[in-house]
């Protein structure tokens, strides 16, 4: 039975309107979860986009005000969950900066290895998802196999695959095992091959290039004004990298270049991420070499010597009173935290991941703010897609690498 037009209540003025309003998300497959975009379409061309976020807002900053420092590490895991080790390390580095803890070189290099692995894990997801959203699914699964390998390395080091909770203030919770290094070697050997193959699938494929070139472009000035950082800013042509500008964790000891694009479109972002993966591989190789150079006693160092913040060894806890007292103090969060404020940034997979920590000397932070790169550059999304087609919006969204956990915190 056909429905008469008067049965349907149309919004005011719908009869005259020549455009369509399309609700993209929150459960649309390409929004990877949780962004809502209300698009005003003329045919398939986007006239206006309005984005809504906050669908997985979890009140990290409020939780952090109730937790001692070490308990915040699991929270940072869940910021950008594709590369949680970077967040973990960023948080530990922030704490170390506030507490004045000096880490030994070996710890720095191990951290660099883990962070760069995380960067690769993140970039490979992002780039292969760009492939998936443009319709080619296989490349995604090829690269995912190597992400499994990265996860195996994490698992060997910290016992978990994704939300790693890796590292402690002052170092790692345990030394890297030989298995971990073997897996790392395997990864270093096999991954470049696969990455090359992935590039062959996409990099010079005209269909892919036409889909991405000129899609969601942004100029360097606008990108800066919008607070872009990380690969997205570099794709726009600005060689800003926290690892180079404010080196942390001994990044100054490594040779690497900053890949930059020119137009800031999806293809540039793709290429920049691709190139960064190569750079990361080279950094890992260098760091691994440096780690191997430590011999004897030095090769056993995996944490800083700070009894006030790093848990004593278990067997001492079982037997020695002093160690037990420190143990209790650290777990209860009673060790002295100097009052002060500190901002520390690391180069997260998506850009400058900053931690602004204000301490009033209590057992928990007085205020902790995460500078989440995603959240800041997502506001440019309407500007990026307006004037493009619906398909462009989808590719742009995936090539920005929006991670909901980071965006909404």
């Amino acid at each position: 039975m056909p429905i008469m037009s008067e049965d349907i209540l149309l919004p005011e003025g719908a009869g005259e309107k020549q455009t369509t309003t399309l609700n993209l998300g929150p459960t649309h497959p390409a929004t990877h979860g949780v962004f809502q975009n209300i698009l005003e379409l003329d045919g398939e061309r986007i006239l206006k986009a309005t984005s809504t976020v906050g669908y997985i807002h979890r009140a990290f900053e409020k939780i952090a005000e109730r937790r001692p420092l070490y308990q915040i590490t699991p929270l940072t895991d869940r910021l950008n969950y594709c590369s949680s080790p970077i967040n973990n390390m960023g948080w530990h580095l922030t704490c170390e900066k506030l507490l004045g803890v000096q880490t030994p070189k070996r710890v720095d290099y191990l951290r660099v290895i883990i962070m760069e692995l995380a960067r690769i894990a993140d970039h490979l997801i992002c780039n292969s998802i760009v492939g998936v959203d443009s319709g080619a699914y296989s490349g995604f699964l090829y690269l995912m196999q190597y992400r499994e390998l990265i996860y195996e390395i994490y698992e060997e080091v910290c016992g978990s695959r994704l939300t790693t909770n890796i590292g402690r203030i002052g170092g790692f919770e345990r030394n890297f095992t030989n298995t971990a290094f073997e897996k790392l070697e395997k990864f270093l050997k096999e991954y470049p091959e696969q990455l090359n193959e992935f590039e062959k699938l996409f990099k010079r494929n005209r269909i892919f290039m036409e889909r991405t070139i000129g899609c969601g472009p942004i100029s360097a000035e606008r990108a800066l004004n919008y607070g872009f950082t990380g690969p997205n800013l570099r794709a726009a042509g600005i060689d800003y990298d926290v690892r180079v500008h404010t080196p942390y964790s001994s990044y100054q000891d490594f040779e690497f270049t900053i890949p930059v694009g020119t137009t800031g479109d999806c293809y540039d972002r793709f290429l920049v991420r691709q190139q960064e993966m190569w750079q990361s591989l080279s950094i890992i190789t260098q760091a691994y070499k440096k780690v191997q150079e430590f011999k004897g006693q030095e090769a056993e160092v995996y944490h800083a010597d700070t009894p006030a913040y790093y848990l004593p060894e278990k067997k001492d806890v079982y037997t020695k009173m002093e160690a037990l007292i420190w143990h209790f103090k650290i777990i209860m969060g009673e060790t002295a935290i100097p009052p002060g404020e500190v901002y520390h940034a690391v180069e997260g997979a998506n850009g400058e991941l900053g931690f602004y920590l204000i301490s009033d000397g209590g057992r928990t932070p007085y205020r902790l703010h995460f500078r989440r790169p995603c959240f800041i550059y997502y506001q440019a999304f309407p500007e990026l897609v307006e004037g493009g087609l619906l398909s462009d919006a989808i590719i742009t969204m995936s090539s920005l690498n929006l991670i909901a956990g980071e965006l909404d915190a």
């Binding site: 929150p26 459960t27 649309h28 497959p29 990877h32 979860g33 949780v34 906050g54 669908y55 997985i56 807002h57 979890r58 009140a59 409020k62 939780i63 699991p74 929270l75 895991d77 869940r78 969950y81 594709c82 997801i125 995604f140 699964l141 995912m144 196999q145 992400r147 499994e148 996860y151 695959r161 994704l162 939300t163 919770e173 345990r174 060894e313 278990k314 909901a404 956990g405 909404d408």
Partner: protein, 187 residues
Amino acid sequence: MSRPVQYNPKVKFQGIPEGYMGEGFMATSFEKVVSLARKNSIWPLPFATSCCGIEFMATMASHYDLARFGSERVGFSPRQCDLLMVMGTIAKKMGPVVRQVYLQMAEPRWVMAVGACASSGGIFDTYSVLQGIDQVIPVDVYVPGCPPRPEAIIDGVLKIQDLVHAEGLRRRNSDQYKELLAGYGIQ
């Protein structure tokens, strides 16, 4: 700091709760065939909001390959799917959306809450997070873990399969089921 013990051999498991089973010995072979078919063709709708979604990708990928269970046709249209896999934190803002998606699904439909956040809120006991999706929709299987390993997700899918297999064709018409839905205010 490696540990002296390796496994916990006493994993807890309770069988399928009452009200799911078919008509017992009355179940016809036809019914069995249908539930067998359903069991092997569970099309998931991944409602992936955060971390667990990433592990779901790993479950779909080559190493674990959910396709082996006939579940690789991941549909994003709720009409076409059988299993709603809620993965990741569901904030209060998202709650109505989950419910809407559930309502749009065609019977028979199953729901799997993957990960601590979806099942209970996990560490996010905060003003903005729904403390478990079972506050808005009925859940069939809970998968603990934050995020669960792909093995655990597959384990959850296997549990769903057992449930589908055991479930009678007429369960969806039973009073008990209607009561369950009415408990959530669903007609």
